[in-house]
């Protein structure tokens, strides 16, 4: 019942908020949402205690027959792959609700949508039925579209539409692959059992897997399907960016691991070398494009393209260490990019700009943003993979797990890690070092110093918490590994047994 509660709390909360008969002011709506999300977080933490970390399979399974004739059953379960993501979802939605202050219009709708997203993401991570996953995957789309197009920046209509079209195409490809799988194998139970060449020829498998890869690749996003992400981030408000980068992108990588690799292990090992190259290209492309950005938010968005590419590399290698690294990378990218987006949001709120050509010297202790600046240094160092923080151990696991299978792609990805240091160092150096000035340094007018309203410690509490958890995972990675390891081990074992069978299976 616990897993169902993880869905019921946000959904019923959203329903209650929207149907509440009297007018709700913003404060009440926000507090209600925060309370509901805290309950959701506590419940997710309870799942850890119910969870048996030595078992690599699905646990706490529950289900109801729903539309069995269509193959759509309500079946939930959780394993070491989805548990960290459920936790990240709970934490980051709560953080997003906390940092949602002074919502200009329709606060009630805003918080309803946040809750719906959180519930839908939980549903997608917990679903044990392909169609059910697809329902939740699509369900999260509309609220996010509304969040961007109602509460977004000046060019929000363009960005929101782009996001909607891209993600809708992604959904169609995924549904197509699921239906194709059902028709090709002739069974309509839509369960998570891997197909073998006995059921479906290798050509068919590769076709369906490619559809899945492109579908989830749009969501991750991987080059060249990433172009919706920088626009969506630039126009979205800070809490929405936190959700988008921290939680929703993980649906893509989760889908690749769970369905791409889980359903088509044989085709996966055929395509793996190509996927590794694709990952390396995505990493390098995202990192290089990030160097050229002058908008801080766009820079962080492109860095997401790069850093999510690592997950594909690790998935392609499919060794126990690399798969564990991919889960680590999903978690640490979620925490770090959420932290960076929040800090950029603070800068934007205080100065009204995110342009790196304009901002200078924000680390100034008296009139600048010293705490934000210090946290920003921590965040970018974590993202660049400095030891002692979550980014390093994730990257180390990824590279260590992948280098034997794909040395070239791994080394190229490590170059991407060096490039991360370049662009994030430029960000810190430009915006935070130097003499405080927010107007362009023009020889005629001269820099105009400004007074930035000091941010209180309470406002920074969510960022401090995220920074703390980044350091915590970096110093004590066993905490995360202990819940994930058996799941990734059994996934890797499945892959290795099937790729031994493969030479016979390849011949059509």
């Amino acid at each position: 019942m616990t897993l169902t509660l993880l869905l019921l709390i946000p959904f019923l909360g959203a329903l209650g908020l929207s149907l509440w008969p009297r007018t709700l002011c913003e404060v009440v709506a926000r507090r209600t949402a925060i309370v509901l999300l805290i309950i959701q977080l506590l419940l997710s933490l309870r799942v850890i205690f119910l969870f048996d970390s030595t078992d690599g399979g699905m646990q706490l399974q529950e289900g109801l027959y729903w539309l069995s004739s269509l193959g759509l059953d309500y079946r939930l379960g959780i394993d070491g792959l989805s548990l960290p993501l459920v936790l990240i979802n709970a934490v980051l939605t709560l953080v997003a609700a906390i940092v949602s202050r002074s919502i200009s219009q329709r606060p009630r709708l805003y918080f309803c949508l946040l809750l719906v997203i959180s519930g839908a993401v939980n549903g997608a991570f917990l679903s044990q039925n392909l169609l059910l996953f697809f329902l939740f995957y699509e369900l999260e789309l509309i609220p996010l579209w509304l969040l961007i197009s109602v509460w977004g920046g000046s060019n929000r209509a363009y960005a929101a539409t782009k996001f909607l079209i891209f993600t809708a195409v992604s959904g169609m490809l995924i549904l197509g692959a699921f239906l194709g799988l059902a028709f090709a194998t002739g069974s309509v139970d839509f369960s998570l059992t891997p197909v073998t060449t006995l059921q479906l020829s290798m050509g068919g498998q590769i076709l369906l897997l490619s559809a899945l890869l492109i579908g989830f690749g749009i969501k991750v996003p991987l080059f060249p399907f990433h172009t919706w992400l920088p626009d969506a981030h630039t126009e979205a408000s800070t809490p929405v960016s936190v959700l988008l980068a921290g939680v929703l992108l993980k649906l893509g990588t989760y889908g690749i691991l769970r369905f791409g690799m889980g359903l088509f292990p044989e085709a996966w090992s055929v395509l793996a070398p190509g996927l590794a190259i694709w990952a390396a290209i995505s990493v390098l492309y995202g990192s290089l494009a990030a160097i050229a950005q002058v908008d801080m938010k766009r820079m962080v968005a492109y860095s997401s393209v790069g850093h999510m590419g690592y997950v594909l590399l690790a998935a392609a290698a499919a060794t126990p260490v690399s798969l564990l690294g991919s889960v680590f990378q999903m978690v640490s990218h979620g925490l770090i990019s959420a932290l960076l987006f929040m800090l950029v949001g603070v800068v934007y709120k205080a100065t009204g700009t995110r342009n790196l050509d304009v901002l200078r010297g924000l680390l100034n202790p008296e009139r600048g943003l010293p705490l934000t600046g210090s946290l920003m240094i921590l965040g970018v160092m974590a993202s660049a993979g400095l030891p002692g923080m979550a980014g390093f151990i994730s990257e180390f696991l990824l590279f260590r797990g992948s280098i034997e299978k794909f040395p070239i792609a791994t080394l190229l990805s490590m170059v991407g890690s060096a490039l991360t240091a370049v662009y994030f160092l430029l960000l810190v150096n430009r915006a935070f070092f130097g003499r405080l000035a927010v107007t362009p340094v023009d020889p005629n007018s001269g820099p105009l110093d400004i007074r930035i309203p000091a941010s209180t410690l309470v406002e920074q509490l969510p960022s401090l918490m995220l920074a703390g958890s980044v350091v915590f995972i970096g110093l004590w990675p066993t905490s995360l590994a202990s819940i994930t390891e058996s799941a990734t081990n059994s996934m890797a074992q499945l892959m290795s047994t099937l790729s031994i069978v493969l030479p016979i299976g390849v011949t059509p």
């Binding site: 050229a292 060794t319 202790p365 080394l411 060096a418 160092l425 130097g434 990675p477």
Partner: protein, 614 residues
Amino acid sequence: MPTALPLPLQTVWLIPVYGFAGMVLSLPWATGWIKRNGPRPAAYLNLLITLVAVVHGSIVIGEVLELGPQHLSFGWFQVADLDLRIGFDLSLINLAALELVTFMSFICQVFALGYLDKEWALARFYGLVGFFEGAMSGVVLSSNLFMSYFLLEMLTLSTYLLVGFWYAQPLVITAARDAFLTKRVGDVLLLMGVVCLSAWAGSMEFTDLYAWSAQHKLAPLTSNLLGLALIAGPMGKCAQFPMHLWLDEAMEGPNPASILRNSVVVTCGALVLIKLMPLLQQAPLATTVLLSVGAVSAIGGALVAIAQVDLKRACSYLTTSYLGLVFIAIALQQPAIAILMLLAHGLAKALLFMSVGSVIATTNCQDITELGGMASRMPATTLAFLVGSAGLVGFLPLGCYWCYGIIVESIKATSPLMAAVFIITNFLTALNLTRLFRSVFMGKSMPKTRRTPEVNWLMALPMVSLSVIVVLLPWIMALLDPIPGINSFSLPVAALVFSSGLIGLVSGSLLHLDSFWSRSRTQSLRVLQDLLALDFYTPDIYRSTIVAFVAGLARLANWFDQAVVNGFVNGIGRLSLITAEGLRQGVSGQLQSYVLTLIVAIILLLTVVQFWYS
């Protein structure tokens, strides 16, 4: 087993933790939570905790002398076939290096109390030094490659933050950036090596790696590439050509941090290289690269130093130069002598930098053309400069004289060319230090040096005590009793070292010095001077090659993203809108034509299906 060991040995892991704890303890003052009574308490806490580290280290030395070398190992992270451990190798050499690190950290912190007297961010400085000290203590004790890498990278981060301490100044921004990126390039290359070794050899303990490397023959290309990756990290840390440009720019940071950087940080880098050396047996290319990098850095660094007019930079290029010599010694399989050299250099160079620091603190000037005649008014500083210089040059029988003697004696037969590099570097260093001494302390007073009282006791005390230690160093070295003994070199070698120092001293004193000397009017000399003063144009070369390359790639990627990827998507969007607009015009509104279209379409479809299946 660890349980049988005495308590100070068991808790040796606390020594790096002391440094990090110092950082955490400084936080309330550094962040401004505690504003009353100023930031001094953070400094006192850090001093106290560093003193604890020094004492703990010396107790451990005593016990190791009694019980013999120990190895402690704790599990950190174990998954699948990966086992990452925290390991401490308690050999006497490592512990001596640890004492050097913690003692130097302590003495620099005392010095900093005087030097940064009125600094508002004093607590932040002490926090960063604590972090620095913790990382360094860990590196010297580490018994495995993963932990060494982990802490080296932390050193990179703290160097960045210490160089960027006065982050509001424009030069500091570029200096911090260059310091981080140059070291980061070295670190990422090292990480590539670490990842490969971890995947191939399994265990990351140095001893296991040596055994693995002795048993497994890799392909020549692979082992050479691996060797190059492994030496890249120490090269960046020790500021060797071509990754040296950060060290002189790093002089923009506060002086007490420069003392640490020039004496112990480079020592840490070289110690890691010594630990990596047995892995390079199969990589002749890496050894050749080490030798040539060392030689180029030694002579190039010394030449560049002679052309500097900035006091701090002139001394920091000497560090590059001297570490080049250490690299040569390591590459020629003389680790014991290399460690002696590091000890002698670390102490003497720290003393030199303290003296430089007190000159800068008194005059607020580090341009030697504007300094002069300070010897009569600043006796302790002058003495420190003299002793430090004497300790760095093979002339008087202080530390480096003996080091030069042993190393030249042991390599003169096998590689006379490298022995010559040592002698030439000694000559150039002596020349440069004499030049610096003459322009700063001798001659007539300049406007900026009219009123120069001696520095306060907080700076003078560490300086004087370190002077005494540098003078006593030969005795300490004799006590350590390395193999071969420190005076085991022949008379001709001794004469050679002595005379190269003497010639340097004499030519340094005969050199024509005035403020115009810095840029000669003779065309050919001027070209040479510019070449050296601007560090062989290395910053420009970097800017026009690798920086331009990466920036160009980034612009290309951005253009491609905007024009091709985004353009394609927008194009499809526009196309569909235009098509829709166009089709809208084509709708007639007549029901008959719709029905006709439908019927024609159905007939066509049926015909196709008919043909398909017949």
